[in-house]
Subunit: 350 residues, 2 copies
C-alpha cells in the first residue's frame, strides 16, 4: 500500500504540454508557464513539477482580474499546519521538548510532584522511558508546564527557552528548523494578497511567541490549541491574565475547521498540512466553491530531513501520521502531495 | 451622585492654552492644535472638546515618528464594544429582538416548545410579559434560536432578518442605527494604521454577518460571545459546521480581556465602551505601558437618542449599566467620558 509519490505520469504530461506553448487550444497552459517563469524568483527552493505548478496556478486563477475563479482580496485566506508542515516535528514536537525541559522548574516550585509519575521519569532524565509516555502522561506534563503562570511570565519563559535550546541533530535553535520552501510559499501568497494563518495543534500562546519573527505571521493570525485564561488583580491593583489548565480549543482534526470558524470566520482558499490531524481542515477548504488549493507534505527525505509515515513504510508512526488512507483521500480529492525529496531543492535556509 | 459630564474646567483650560500657540514651552499643545485642524475633516461629527481632543492627541503621540510613545504599526490595536458604543442598544439589544423574532420558526420545528415558558409568552406576543424575562429565560431563548443549525444556515437567516427588520422608533434597519461619530473614529484610527476590532458581549457569528459592510470591520476582527461548533458530514459527504449550544467564550466583563487574549494575542492601545461590561477591557488596556486611550460613552441625550444610566438618575438600568462606580473609576484612572449630548454634533448619518 506504499503510495506512488513520484507522480511521474502527471509530471511527464505537464512537461510535454509545456513544449507546445504556441498551439492554440492551450492558452491556459501557456499562461501558466509564463507565470511560472515570473514566480521563479518567488519560489527558488522549489523544483519545477506538479507541486510548484499547483501553487502557481492557484495564485494565478484566484488573483488575475477577470479570472472566473477570482477571489476578492478580503476573502483571501490560506491556512498552514505548523509541526511537520512549516518546521521539523521529528522525532518530537519542539513544544513537547519545551515542556519536558520546564519540568525541573515546576517540580522545584511544587516538590510534591517529584515522586509522582510522569514527573519522576522526566526528572530521572531517562529518555527511553520518556519516549514511552502515553497521551495521558503528556497531557499531565503539558497542563503542569503550560498553565498556572501569567501570560506575561509564560511569554518570557518561552522566549528564553527558544533562544537557548538546540535541536540535538542540527545543533541549532528550533526556530531555524523551518522549511525554506514553505517560507517562500507564505511570502508568495502574502505578496498576492493572501492573509496567511497558522492553524496548529500546538499551543497557540507558544507559537505566537515567535510566529511574527520566524514566519512573518502576526499573533492574531495564529490559531492553535488554546486554554482558558483568568483575569485577576495583583496586590498593586494591576490586572493580569493567568493561564488556566482548562482546554478551550483542541485544534487538531475537526478542531481545525472549528477553530478557523471561531478565530477567522472565513473558509480558507488554500490549506497546507502533513498528517491526519489536518484532514478535516483540507476537506473543509476543498468543500468551498471555486478554485481551492489543498496540499500535503510527505516526509520522504531520510537524508536531508526524515522519512516517516507511508514513505518509510510506517503506516502508523508516532508523529505525522500521514496514513495510507489519507493518501487515498488526497488522490481521490485531487489534493496535491508535496514530496520533500523531489519537490524541494533545499530544506532549510542554512 | 450624578456625574459632572461637561468637564468645563478641563475644556476651559485647553481653550485658553490654545490661544497661546506661539509661546515657547507649549510646542506639544501647538502641535496638537495643528493636528486637530488636520483631523477636523476626519471627525466632522464631533464638537471640539476634551473627548475629541483625547482621540486626536492619542493618535498623534502614538503614530508620530520620534514620539516617545510611538507604537509600531503591527502593535496598533483598538477595540470597541458594540451595543451602546457603536450602535443603539436601547430599549433592547437588536440581537435579542432577532432571537425573539425567530421563536415562531423554532416552535414550528419543535412544537413541544409551544406550551413551555418562556416560548409560550413569546408566541403570545405579550411585550410587557417579555420585558420581565429573567436572564435564564433569555438564555433559553438564545440557546434555542442561535444553535442547532449549520453556520451557513445561520448566516442566511440572520442576513434576511437584518434586511427586513425595522427599529420601532426610527423605522429603519438596525444596521442604520450606528453612531456616525464612532464610524468616524473607526476610520480615523484605521487611516492611522490601527487595526480596529469589535469586542462585544453579543454573538460573534451574528455581528460578523454585517460588521464588514456596516463598520468596515472584517469578520476576523470581531471578538464576541461564541458557542462551539461541530464538524459533521452531510449525506453527500460534504462537511459542514453545526452551531452547538455549548458556550466557549462569554465575552462580557472579564471575558473581554480573556477573549482579546484568545483571539488577538495583543493588548489594545485604545478601548471604547459604555458599561460595566467593558470595565475589565478598559482596565486591561490602561494597564499597558505608554500612551493608552480609554473612553466610555455616556447616553445622556434623551432627545436625539436615549438617556439612561447615571445620566438619567438610573444607576441600575437594565441595559448599559454605566454605574456611578464605573464613573468614579473612570475619573480616577483618567478614562475619558464621551457625552453624547455635548460631544456629538449628530448621532446618525441620516
Amino acid at each position: 500500500m506504499k503510495p506512488n509519490i513520484s507522480s511521474i505520469d502527471r509530471r511527464t504530461l505537464l512537461s510535454t504540454l509545456a513544449l507546445l506553448p504556441a498551439l492554440s487550444g492551450l492558452p491556459l497552459i501557456a499562461s501558466a508557464q509564463a507565470q511560472t517563469a515570473a514566480s521563479g524568483s518567488a519560489l527558488p527552493s522549489w523544483n519545477d513539477g506538479p507541486a510548484k505548478q499547483a501553487i502557481v496556478d492557484f495564485v494565478r486563477v484566484t488573483t488575475e482580474q477577470g479570472s472566473p475563479n477570482f477571489v476578492a482580496p478580503e476573502e483571501r485566506v490560506a491556512t498552514f499546519d505548523q509541526d511537520g508542515t512549516l518546521w521539523v516535528e521529528h522525532p518530537m514536537y519542539s513544544q513537547v521538548v519545551y515542556c519536558l525541559d520546564r519540568v525541573p522548574d515546576v517540580v522545584a516550585k511544587k516538590p510534591e510532584l517529584k515522586n509522582v509519575e510522569p514527573f519522576k521519569t522526566v526528572i530521572s532524565g531517562d529518555r527511553e522511558a520518556m519516549a514511552k509516555f502515553t497521551m495521558k502522561d503528556l497531557e499531565m506534563i503539558l497542563a503542569a508546564t503550560l498553565s498556572g503562570m501569567s501570560v506575561d511570565e509564560f511569554n518570557v519563559e518561552a522566549r528564553k527557552w527558544l533562544e537557548t535550546a538546540r535541536d540535538p541533530r542540527w545543533k541549532r535553535p528550533y526556530t531555524e528548523l523551518i522549511y525554506q520552501p514553505m517560507v517562500e510559499v507564505l511570502r508568495y501568497l502574502r505578496d498576492n494578497g493572501y492573509k496567511t494563518y497558522i492553524v496548529t495543534g500546538g499551543g497557540q500562546d507558544f507559537v505566537r511567541v515567535y510566529s511574527e519573527r520566524v514566519y512573518g505571521i502576526p499573533p492574531e493570525q495564529v490559531v492553535g490549541t488554546a486554554g482558558g485564561t483568568k483575569y485577576e488583580y495583583g496586590k498593586d491593583g494591576k490586572p493580569f491574565l493567568t493561564k488556566e489548565p482548562k482546554l478551550l480549543l483542541n485544534d487538531n482534526n475537526a478542531g481545525k475547521p472549528e477553530g478557523i470558524h471561531l478565530m477567522v470566520g472565513r473558509r480558507p482558499y488554500a490549506a497546507f498540512g502533513n498528517s491526519t490531524g489536518d484532514r478535516e481542515m483540507l476537506e473543509w477548504t476543498g468543500a468551498g466553491a471555486g478554485a481551492r488549493l489543498m496540499m500535503l507534505l510527505l516526509h520522504d527525505d531520510a537524508i536531508r530531513e526524515y522519512a516517516y509515515g507511508p514513505a518509510a513504510g510506517l503506516p502508523d508512526s508516532k508523529v505525522g501520521t500521514f496514513t495510507p488512507e489519507l493518501y487515498d483521500e488526497a488522490k481521490k480529492k485531487n489534493w496535491t502531495v508535496i514530496s520533500m525529496k523531489n519537490d524541494w531543492k533545499r530544506i532549510f535556509s542554512f
